[in-house]
Subunit: 205 residues, 2 copies
DNA sequence: CGCTAATCTAGAACAAGTTTCAGACTTGAT
DNA sequence: ATCAAGTCTGAAACTTGTTCTAGATTAGCG
């Protein structure tokens, strides 16, 4: 069995041609998503664009949602790299986290359709995609902890981070579906980031 | 045109038979959802169960997501009534909100498949369902403000409520997809509710 | 009652995700 | 170089959400 869309551990090491196929598929997926969002990523088209038979596509990614979540892993990795190179300048952890998320948000605004495809897939994913979604979640957590500048967070801090992630995902959805403005998302992010102040300065409970 | 799945204002008043059809449809939807979640709500089956032609079903609810969001409105109304009758006993606003949400959560735990169908529909909804999703959001906001005991919330408090709703939805999703335990959801809810303390006692900023 | 417009029904048809299958091609081991 | 096992291809089939159509029914009105 080839890779299960898990970036970090290919179940069996892919051959070069397989790796190339996988990249072509992810590229086609991102490209189609950028055009028209979730609905525009049609499996037949992805297969055709990436020069792969439909059955092969399904062997690499067992469903459309798996494919889009893998696409998101891909993009997230890229973003984490970018953010690492230019860490946010804020004075407090809360500020830095808010700045980091706003930076990510601005990146998403540049490709709103792609954002739509990825986020919708992420929240629509059922149990069969849990491992992959979890990986995305861990990656997001890592980005936030990086911004906080923490190596060894307390349980309270981890709770705060989880709540921040919840808010981040849900706020994105309200923005993507046109129910919240960009300004609104910004406020929500800043609001939830205040939770960090609640856990940081005080000692453990 | 008949009702657009908006509980509060039927575009044109439905006849008795139409009202009955609408109820049959919602009932069938909830029943099927209770059995097998989102996937088990199949439009043909809903139509058959509710003794209505497929075309009619689509006239009442223009998509599966519309149908499930309307189902959620229905359930939410019921729950708001229940909660009103037995307000939570906590001393602080934060406590009462957390208790209220945990009560709702326990109700959902009794019908996890139904919860799955409703929540997945809610977060998967695209722009065409925005009005209905917004209505659900307003209803949820009303429930939380009720628990806080506030008639005239400040903008900060409204922000906190929005963040609480974000957390609520997203935490439910992680639970439904098996990526978070019940205990975890409880912690997240309690964590986010602390935001209320941040806005309540202090005066306006 | 008798008319007209709107609504409802049954069922076919279409669209896109997913599955399946027979045959061609690769790969790895001997 | 050759064989077996695994992989890829192309195409059809299947599933379920959605749309469409022609004819039957119903509601409102004079």
């Amino acid at each position: 069995m080839p890779a299960e869309a898990s970036t970090s551990r290919p179940a069996s090491p892919l051959t070069e041609r397989q790796e190339a196929r996988r990249r072509r598929i992810l590229h086609a997926s991102a490209q189609l998503a950028s055009r028209g969002g979730f609905d525009a990523v049609q499996m037949r088209e992805v297969a055709e664009s990436s020069q792969v038979a439909l059955g092969t596509l399904y062997r690499y990614f067992p469903s459309k949602v798996h494919l889009l979540v893998a696409t998101m892993q891909d993009q997230l990795e890229h973003m984490h790299g970018t953010l690492r190179r230019k860490p946010p300048p804020g004075d407090t952890a809360a500020e830095r986290v808010a700045q980091t998320l706003m930076r990510a948000f601005r990146a998403l605004q540049r490709e709103p359709h792609l954002a739509d495809a990825m986020v919708r897939a992420l929240t629509f994913a059922d149990r069969s995609v849990s491992p992959e979604v979890d990986q995305v979640s861990r990656q997001t957590t890592a980005i936030i902890l990086d911004a906080m500048g923490l190596a060894d967070p307390t349980p309270e801090q981890l709770s705060a981070v989880r709540v921040i992630e919840h808010t981040w995902h849900s706020a994105l959805i309200t923005w993507l579906s046109g129910r919240a403005s960009i300004a609104q998302v910004k406020i929500d992010i800043e609001t939830v980031c205040r939770l960090i102040d609640l856990t940081e300065p005080a000692g453990r409970g």
